[in-house]
């Protein structure tokens, strides 16, 4: 345990990077995922097709492959960015598809009567969506979205193979430096991940309770 204590700054910085990856790609994926969901339920066929094509392709591709494409592929297209930025792009591209599906299922869970009523009072499509459907959809979407974000926190660890010093790669490096500390490092890192998972879980719970309405 002494070694772990000595290296606490390094380990904490690793988890800091994990949180940075999760939060920034989480926010971006929320925006893109919602946009994709709107495209997929909207009345414009080309956008609908593009949305479903994106989701189909990304959902069936391993995240590791998305990382390979971003980290090693984009520089071949003369896009040069930091490794952390590539990781954020890869996680955003991947998570957006799952956010889209969660939001879309939320939109589909809004009762048809609500939408018909909104249309009957003459709201145009964008107002039906922004005033009536999405507020209710987001409420229904919090539990599935919670598991998408729980998965995102864990998915940040794929960056281990792509030169990002997040928690798992710090673990691998330190275990390499001092093999006798492997198990205390394992335990420490596991506790860190579980703490992050607990934060996401608690956040989803609070949001769920805060937005719940008694029908």
């Amino acid at each position: 345990m002494d070694f772990v204590w000595e290296q606490r700054d390094v380990i904490l910085r690793g988890f800091g990077t994990t949180v940075l990856l999760a939060v920034s790609s989480g926010l971006l994926a929320f925006i893109f995922g919602t946009l994709l969901a709107v495209m997929r339920v909207g009345p414009v066929p080309p956008l609908r097709w593009a949305g479903s094509a994106y989701v189909t392709v990304v959902r069936n591709t391993p995240l590791t492959l998305v990382f390979v494409f971003c980290t090693f592929g984009l520089p071949r297209m003369e896009v040069r960015l930091a490794f952390v930025t590539f990781a954020i792009i890869a996680l955003t591209v991947y998570t957006s598809a799952f956010v889209c599906e969660a939001v879309r299922s939320g939109i589909n869970s809004v009762e048809a009567g609500e939408i018909e009523a909104a249309r009957a009072v003459g709201l145009p499509f964008h107002q039906i969506l922004s005033l009536v459907v999405l507020p209710q959809a987001f409420r229904a979407v919090i539990p599935p979205l919670g598991s998408v974000y729980n998965a995102l926190v864990k998915n940040t660890s794929v960056a281990v193979a792509f030169s990002v010093a997040e928690a798992s790669s710090i673990f691998r490096r330190l275990a390499n430096d001092d093999a006798s500390a492997t198990w205390s490092l394992l335990l420490t890192t596991a506790v860190g991940y579980m703490a992050l998972a607990a934060v996401v879980f608690a956040g989803a719970r609070i949001l769920e309770r805060g937005t719940a309405i008694v029908r």
């Binding site: 069936n60 591709t61 794929v158 281990v160 275990a175």
Partner: protein
């Protein structure tokens, strides 16, 4: 319902949606054209980048990688099914300690990243004198993670069996074990089959994490190709196409099973199970 979002369009709405289609289509075409231009400007469509995929050598590497992927995923699936059944039965046990231990195991392995579980098997277990190579590390990681996810799916499936069935079985004098084995599991499996197959898609995708510990699966084989030829993007596209083809076939199977077995009474076994998303659900 999404279909309620808009009416059968009248003439004005049709004009508007036509304009929307044209504008949206143009934007999409512009985006795609930009990406393709960028790809061709940087020479990604060069012959020497794509020609290797026609050759027997490269094809053999990819085929061997695909077989390695299927081997790891297949073995992990079998082991995960066993572990999942064990944990699900444990979680539904009438003995409190068994329940507590199973719950703790499930929650632990669901909270940890799959990458971390693979590293645990790859770096941690050898410290205890258990010799694990890349293959066993991938299989152990996939088994622990998917076993605990499957346990939740099984549990939900078992709980979805109508109570009357269980009560009837008990009243016939069957023991608890017999009720689980003869009444609950057979009915649960039927309902769970589609969810099970979609979990297989997740497992197959996650096996690509073998990349990290240099297990020569499909993606790693792709790496062997692009480090030799320097064609990262063409290789990534080819490998992605293989993954997508296999996973789409599996998804089609899943929706067929859903139609075949899931129809009629809408018991949704996956309702409180997280949606399938890879690596801790990659």
């Amino acid at each position: 319902m999404a279909t309620a979002l808009y009416d059968v369009p009248g003439p004005r709405a049709r004009t508007r949606s036509l304009i929307g289609s044209i504008v949206g289509g143009l934007v999409l075409v512009a985006v795609v054209a930009f990406v393709i231009k960028r790809l061709s400007d940087t020479g990604q469509f060069r012959r020497e980048f794509w020609e290797p995929f026609g050759g027997a050598g490269v094809q053999r590497i990819l085929l061997r990688g695909l077989l390695a992927t299927l081997r790891a995923a297949g073995l992990a699936l079998v082991l995960a099914l066993l572990l999942g059944t064990l944990l699900a039965v444990g979680r539904l046990s009438s003995r409190a300690p068994v329940r507590a231990v199973s719950t703790a195991v499930v929650e632990l392995f669901r909270a940890l990243p799959l990458v971390f579980l693979i590293l645990f098997a790859f770096i941690g277990l050898p410290e205890l004198g258990i010799d694990t190579g890349p293959f066993s590390s991938v299989v152990i990681g996939l088994t622990l993670y998917n076993g605990s996810v499957l346990a939740e799916i099984f549990r939900a499936g078992i709980l979805a069996v109508p109570r009357g069935q269980v009560e009837a079985a008990f009243s016939l004098g069957l023991s608890k074990a017999a009720v689980t084995r003869l009444i609950q599991l057979p009915q649960a499996v039927r309902v769970m089959l589609p969810v099970l197959v979609s979990q297989l898609v997740v497992l197959l995708k996650d096996s690509a994490l073998g990349f990290i510990v240099a297990y020569p699966e499909l993606l790693r084989s792709g790496r062997r190709i692009y480090t030799n030829v320097g064609n990262v993007i063409p290789t990534a596209i080819v490998v992605a196409a293989i993954y997508i083809a296999i996973n789409l076939a599996l998804s089609t199977l899943a929706s067929y099973l859903e139609r075949r077995f899931g129809g009629g009474r809408r018991s949704r076994p996956g309702a409180d199970v997280p949606p399938e998303i890879g690596v801790g659900a990659p």
